[in-house]
Symmetry: C2
Subunit: 361 residues, 2 copies
């Protein structure tokens, strides 16, 4: 069994590690030379448009998946004609574009923030009249970790953002002062078997995920999140792991982003769930039965961002599991993560405090 | 951080996978060309006596460990002069030889079966008089999975075994019709921090481990096993994971074999314990704090021997985790393992029955 992965960052790395356990061979294609996955599996450096090279790299694979939705869709269209792609090309196409994503969600009656397609300065003026300040201008594609977006508090800022971002397809989103953010990770295989991990509570710092805690217990929100996820999975005949990030606002959920892939807010599943999101993504795209998505304990996952860590200090925290991606330290770059596991709520709070003191940012 | 591993079989493979999670680089040396670890880490093909080549392969490693005690001790002596070896050369030397192992255990008042050093036919005649039939003749070194040993029921069989095995250093062990076999896996780092996994109940078929179940609950035996393990670890200033196999006979323990390494009866710890034996071995030899060795649930680990499996059938068993080592199928060869996890005793019994029906031997 052999799987091709488009992209070779840390998500590909963790997919490959999980694949090794299952005896599944993996091969990644990435245009970048320094890739986190390079020391755990084969990584070929090729442009995503170089179909000839990609065909060579992926020779003999049973199917192809991706670790990022930020892929050139025309190129991947060609790949999907040669290889079985999971999740499929239409799914990738919808979720790599904030506008088509939101249009899709609204067509399914899944609430989102109000938004506007932006093609001209006129559209921004319209937004200024329609939405009160502040609102957000975002690039429709290739945004991640808070990149490619600006919060707009007045007309001057709107003008500056327009100068900086115009030329790229843009979207304006109404700002919602939400109470907190959660995500739900689900898996579905080609037999329609579907599983949901428990809700995850996510906290960000400077636009980057900082802390994910699971399970986040809220029956009402969990039921709602599963309902929305189910509708999407069925509608798209989805195969693989899918993540939805929600804003929680006045006890209701607004779908913010959908990732057609394994997700940072699911790294806790490696130790904290009966089957990790990585293994379940592989099982799903191969057509194997899914593993249980139940939590084994309480988990808290910290991203390790920008700096090297003093590992022995971190591992002194009870129930700590350290993951390092072998990337060059750089401000704002996700270099690894730390997962804390325990079944005791008080112990978890104490351990989170310890971790916050010890993690170097 | 970089670690050299002597040997590149499935134990090295699982060490390397665990190392990948921790961002630790690994490199293996093995004289064999077909190695299970080859598709998860760098494997250099070199003779263990080729110190020059080994030095090149292990260039830049922080320390060296091994996945088997069946190593040429003179060669490894040279390696240990160039690199920090964990567990150290004296430990390897004791435990790779059934006679020195048993002498060592007896010097610490840890019970074993009665045994005799065999250097001549005369020694065998002495054993025939001293021990009643049956007894076992074993090679002192390089035995595994029931290889290099014979059960002797009469003088004729003794003569045949002598003809076949003489020339190699031998040991005779009194046959004990033990009630069952258990093992204890422990970890110790260079700060003397020591941890024990719960007891494991082991069942063999044709001399090969077939099923390991953990935790095996027996307070008296657990206390005794930990006591024996502690004495050994302290005496040897042991660094790494160590496994002791015990025969249980009339509520007492006879130490059978000691493995100075991660062990087949500890594979369940990947999903079933808070930290796997592989991660704890790495943490120990690096000098990091050990992770918790507590069981998260009930586990049953089946070796997958000789034949390819129908994976989707196996993964239909609730709580099943499949591991495949990418080795060529061959009669009696360990090709992978299946771990079943659940917290419910009845469910475990049912799932074990399912697995026994589905696993192809």
């Amino acid at each position: 069994m052999k799987i091709g992965i488009l992209g070779a960052g840390q998500l590909a790395r963790m997919l490959a590690i999980s694949a090794h356990q299952l005896g599944i061979d993996t091969v990644c294609v990435d245009p970048n030379y320094e890739c986190s996955a390079r020391d755990v599996t084969k990584v070929h450096h090729a442009d995503f448009f170089d179909l000839h090279e990609i065909e060579k790299c992926f020779s003999g694979v049973d199917c192809v998946t991706y670790e990022t939705e930020n892929l050139p869709i025309e190129a991947i269209h060609s790949v999907s004609k040669k290889f079985k792609l999971h999740p499929d090309i239409d799914i990738l196409s919808i979720f790599q574009d904030r506008l088509s994503e939101k249009n899709f969600l609204n067509s399914l009656n899944i609430p989102t923030v109000d938004y506007l397609d932006v093609n001209s300065w006129h559209d921004i003026e319209y937004a200024i009249n329609k939405f009160s300040f502040p609102f957000l201008i975002k690039t429709r594609r290739n945004g991640y970790d808070g990149k490619g977006q600006a919060m707009i508090h007045n007309t001057e800022e709107a003008r500056a953002a327009w100068q900086q971002l115009s030329g790229k397809p843009l979207i304006i989103e109404k700002f919602v002062n939400f109470d907190f953010e959660i995500s739900i990770i689900s898996a579905r295989n080609d037999k329609g078997e579907t599983s949901f991990y428990p809700l995850v509570l996510n906290q960000h710092k400077n636009g980057i995920l900082f802390l994910s805690q699971a399970p986040y217990f809220n029956e009402k929100l969990e039921t709602l999140a599963k309902e929305y996820a189910s509708v999407i999975l069925r509608k798209l005949n989805y195969v693989g792991v899918m993540t939805i990030e929600f804003f929680c606002h006045h006890e209701s959920l607004l779908a913010n982003e959908i990732a057609p892939r394994v997700h940072n807010s699911g790294h806790w599943t490696i130790e904290g769930a009966e089957t990790s999101q990585f293994e379940n993504h592989l099982r799903a795209i191969i057509g194997w039965p899914l593993g249980s998505t139940k939590a084994k304990c309480l988990s808290a996952m910290f991203n390790l961002i920008g700096k090297k860590q003093i590992v022995s200090d971190l591992l002194n925290i009870p129930g700590a599991h350290y993951h390092w991606y072998n990337k060059k330290p750089l401000d704002g770059r996700k270099l690894g993560h730390l997962t804390l596991c325990t079944s005791n709520r008080n112990e978890m709070e104490m351990n989170i405090e310890k971790a916050i003191k010890l993690i170097r940012y």
